[in-house]
Amino acid sequence: MRKLALRDEILLKIEKPARYIGNEINMVVKDPEQVDIRFAMCFPDVYEIGMSHLGIQILYDMFNQREDVYCERVYSPWVDLDQIMRKEGIPLFALESQDPVRDFDFLGITLQYEMCYTNILQILDLSQIPLKAADRTREHPFVIGGGPCSYNPEPIADFFDMFYIGEGETVYGQLLDTYKEWKASGRERVEYLKQAAQIPGIYVPQFYDPEYYPDGTLKSFAPNIPEAPEHVVKQVELDMSDTFYPEKPLVPYIKVTQDRVVLEIQRGCIRGCRFCQAGMLYRPIRPRGLEFLKKRAIQMLESTGQDEISLSSLSSSDYKELQELVYWLINEFTDKGINISLPSLRIDAFSLDVMSKIQDVRKSSLTFAPEAGSQRMRDMINKGLTEEAILGGAKEAFRGGWNRVKLYFMLGLPGETWEDIEGIAVLSDKIAREYYTIPKEERNGKVQIVTSTSIFVPKPFTPFQWSRMNSMEEAEEKRNFLLDKVRSQRHGRSIKYNCHDADVSVLEGVFARGDRRLCDVILQAYRSGCFYDSWNEFFHYSRWQKAFADHGLTMEFYIGRERGEDELFPWDFIDIGVTKEFLLREYHNAQEEKTTPNCRAQCSGCGAARFGGGVCMEVRTNESQD
């Protein structure tokens, strides 16, 4: 019988024991004795969220294709199990073999959002691995971080032996081969790190020292050993149609957030929205080939038995062969009881036609993400969605039978005025009015509009990395103002207004552009009981406030000031291809409310062309300009 790390008694006591037993369909089974490297791949959040992440599935498949590696999975134990494990001293285990993570060679942690930082400490703590890299010995796994938050790894630098900057498909092989040599050599832990630091894309924090000015800003940031490069260059997979992509994704037993097969049609985005970090980090856009995608779609549905397939990308409408792909999926699969889901589609004739074919119009809703309420603001953030396009798309959809609309906006964008905020309410109302212009017989009951706002968080490697973020009080005031404005619209009662909590966003903002001094703040907050910070019910703002105060730091410093144009940022040592000059140019363009064309219309010379692939190498034709 398969061994389980937890006794029956524990499994019967906790919520959803299926989170911890593994053995899902398509789980990879290897004999740990027969491999050279054991790699624990961790998503530091609860199973249902972690299992929904495509990146881990890609790496899991990639690692396990190597015969000398056994890659297993780890997720954050939920609070109920966490308590039991601490009390009984049960070490955190990987799902596949149910063996303790501390006996592995690597613990890879994917960093998808800032609010998981305390969960990283939970993972290390439960694994019984020293929280700080400096305290680890040859006996401990190497802890490696990756994913979007590793583009500013400084607030968590002390906890990691290294960070992998960029896409996992490229240099992991080299990193593992080097490890095998090191392991056989019996040399010191630091020796492997020195070698790793020389592999492109690998950042080893302990080989770099920050220095600060008295005002707290960064004075210098430089390597302290000759082996470590001054700049760490992000890794980019250039051939998206001849690379790792799972044919047999894992199939969870319990319902997870993304309970479907996911087809990543392209990586990157041509749009250049100025608030969007992903849009800059993953430049240049690289589409996957149509045939590659068709093949994977068939294989994945076949091997999982899932009843839904979803396309994934930052902006699916920009995939050139989208129509062909979508109609093929519909023809191939809808009569087999398989649902097709298409997030991030622009609303136009094509998408409405597709949506009417794949979903129940009466039950589904239209989604628009104008992000800002006024055209002036949308020009500032370079979101090329016009009011005309929104109203036109909505009208078409209303004629087709839809009556529900979801709208997404941000509050607190740089340069925002009260008028811009009011614009959110006005635009919501205009959409409702549009609905009532169609004859009563053609309407499908009342219109329902859900308007949601999140609080804008300036992120590194965006043109707004210099910008000030709104304080909690400002955000609250804006929210109340908007709520008032929504209510006073003609169709105010058809508009439901939702908003995010400001305190979590503030902390997210601090971590996003934080420096290495935050490591100890995070450590203290964790020690005082903070984890699962992204879950409202476990978020303790006052503990965080205390942790900052105890370390003589303020959140204000990180988010409350417009940063100087010549300021050195903690993440400047990372080279994502897109240059700081370009970002600064875009920052100025924003201030002047000037828009920048998308990559297919015209190259703006952002710097990502140096990778020599994707859209930067495409031949531009007139028809691709929109």
């Binding site: 389980l4 029956d8 008694e9 053995n23 369909i25 199939v251 076949e302 038995g305 009881g337």
Partner: protein
Amino acid sequence: MKARIKFSKTGSMRFIGHLDVMRYFQKAFRRGHIPVSYSQGYSPHQLMSFTSPLGIGLSSDAEYMDIELDECPEPESMVERMNQTMNEEIRVKDFLLLPEDAKPSMAMLAACDYLIAGKPDHMSQFQDIGKTQKLLEGLLSQEEILIRKKTKRSEKVVNIRLNIYCASTSREVFERHTGGSYASLSIDQKEYPPILYCQLTAGSVVNIKPELLMEALCREAGIEYDPLAYQIHRLEMYGDQYGKKGEVHLLNGEAPCLLVPLSKYR
């Protein structure tokens, strides 16, 4: 076309709840290209129904499910086809095509066989088989075995004596009574040492859980009943060939009763 599937559920799969087992089978059927029929409408679902599914933590060699099929060209190969897409801890054991007018198995369920075993990490008070058998006989010789039975809505004291058709620490005795053969099971009997076997009333009218019998036995032994100390393993489910709707068979009752395993019941 109707069919009945018998399957086992053991090991880590004990911790997968009923709804998730259903989802597991839906996907397994799609992987295995089993032509299960779908309901009509915008979100069609596969037509399947489970017979009295187990609670979390219990294991089984005899779970049942009825399905509707569009077609079934090779019924003989179905067990094999399905097992190719299953994991090691949920295995299809039997596949039976049913006549079109077959009643759903849930409606026919009349009795179940169970094995109650000790857990590996619990010292069992019932290790001494001889002693346990004596206790059990003492219990069964009573006219009434009163147990507090909790349902979602109410709590009442019931007499379960007449719902215990058979109970014994001896596998041979139990097999002789039930006609089953329980020597090789999907539960590891070294790790989970058998304590006793029992056949109890089951179904939608009266359903006696084996935990109740264990609770009564603990009372008889003068020890506190700890539900976490025992592993319950289902061995078989039966329909009553003579049973009438809404009627519950009682031990030594006057109405004739013929229990037939659901996998043989048409």
